[in-house]
Symmetry: C2
Subunit: 326 residues, 2 copies
Amino acid sequence: MQQTRLNTDRIRAARRLINPVFRDTPLYRCEALEPDLGCAVSIKLETANPVRSFKARGTEVVASLLADRGSQAVVCASSGNLGQALAWSGRDRGLDVTVVSSRFATASKLDRIRALDARLELVDGDHELARDRAVAIARSDGIRLVEDSLDIETCEGAATIGLELVDTAPSFDTVLIALGGGALATGVGHVLKALAPEVELICVQPLGAPAMTRSWRSGRVVTTDSTDTIADGVDGRRPIPAVLDDLLLVADDAILVQESSIITGMRLLFAQAGLIAEPSAALGIAALLENRDRFAGRHVVTVVCGGNVDADAYRRWVGADPVHGS
Amino acid sequence: MQQTRLNTDRIRAARRLINPVFRDTPLYRCEALEPDLGCAVSIKLETANPVRSFKARGTEVVASLLADRGSQAVVCASSGNLGQALAWSGRDRGLDVTVVSSRFATASKLDRIRALDARLELVDGDHELARDRAVAIARSDGIRLVEDSLDIETCEGAATIGLELVDTAPSFDTVLIALGGGALATGVGHVLKALAPEVELICVQPLGAPAMTRSWRSGRVVTTDSTDTIADGVDGRRPIPAVLDDLLLVADDAILVQESSIITGMRLLFAQAGLIAEPSAALGIAALLENRDRFAGRHVVTVVCGGNVDADAYRRWVGADPVHGS
């Protein structure tokens, strides 16, 4: 294939920088989901760790390299999961961490960032405004800005999930990946194309935050003016050109799903798999719900990439269950 | 120490018989729980696997040995988790599995046993009556009866959790273990006493099902006429003498907890850790809630041993949250 920005040897090296608590996550067939979905479903679970999402794989790589170089501080913009992960990885290595978030981000995610000793700065706007502010802080303070998906370490960290998928001698046909900034999709996608090219990589994004999917479909960056989705982990509006270029090389398809399917996906993961998934982590199940014929009889892996939910919102989402009783 | 029925070399050998999907489960510090509990808390998570509990560690050992000997069939009595695990392990090795359950067992657990192709027989009584019926089936059919906690393989399988705890070079002071029949407690306890004797093992049981705890305290088998607890995984009434003998050698204490603490424990695991725990799996958190002074400042590991909940009952349990808002 054409070259992405990633390199498999570098991904293997990155893996060694990641605290083992974030590696070798559970991967297992979940038969209880299958009657509702019509295909074989395996779960790659990225929520059973200290930050409840896969993002620490990337921040572990970033923070390790910064600490090795003697850096003192780091900043990022985050709707929550990256910020929490960077706070954890930075604290573990003695770095001062600043996280810039939207004031409208999930409250429990912001609480966790504070609890991990990071300095939290809130902006009156969405994630893109937070990103602008983080850029300004990095410039004025002369510190490293961690940009999710643009910074190669975030993609390499996420790509280690791909190594774990292919190391199990996969019998699966398809990997479903939540698509936001693109680190997870391009990272896992690079590894699959390099080491298991017969496996299909399908990205899933909410209809209410479709910028990257539209960009992938048209082959050029398409931005949107706003987003409208509960999936706060993937609600970007301005795809990064270099990440799109990689995505064009590794994704076999990109699917948009409705909000109602995301909620049904969370309900199924709750009731049938016993898993608390945040909306972004239910995108794969949502794609299966909306495309039963396409996936019928196939073996699909979906990466449950985060479980940081606001408890009250989550109770509302899963409180009434049209699939399996009230 | 005096000898239990277990042997560390045999436990290491048992580990090799267990499908890797059930081994090397997540073990991680969960800081978000700590403000409510007043001590350092790590989670050993046994729910992210195809049967959502630790029980398959034991049934993998049993089923492997049976298949090696050319056995065709196996039977057990189970309130759900053992039955589901034996159904999985037996199916994987071509064994016919019969599970005898109480008609009053958690419906979702019974559904999962059926879905795994086991023959399910229901009795109009509690777990002890189901055990009597399973004994009768084993005799009449001439097949192996798997008796949880009595059969050494079930203890050896559970004990592999202990190997994983000590292999992480533990910095923890205490392990909290749900106490039912005793396989988990004696298995993990044996390994701790053999390989990390400085670590305290504390068993936790519901006040409504206190037979084993009372037996441990008095040094002889104490039975009860009934049980009254939502923790269906640990609701035995007739402790097994040989298991009690082992427990007397390895447990440092046995604590009884109230139902309300079990529910608060499930709520905390839901809201602060993002984990769905069945009542038995919240016993450790319940013990911390009721004994804050005792554990203050210590580092405690609690084994979240199962996540098979009835979705509706679980919604009721975690639906209103006196700890963290409604």
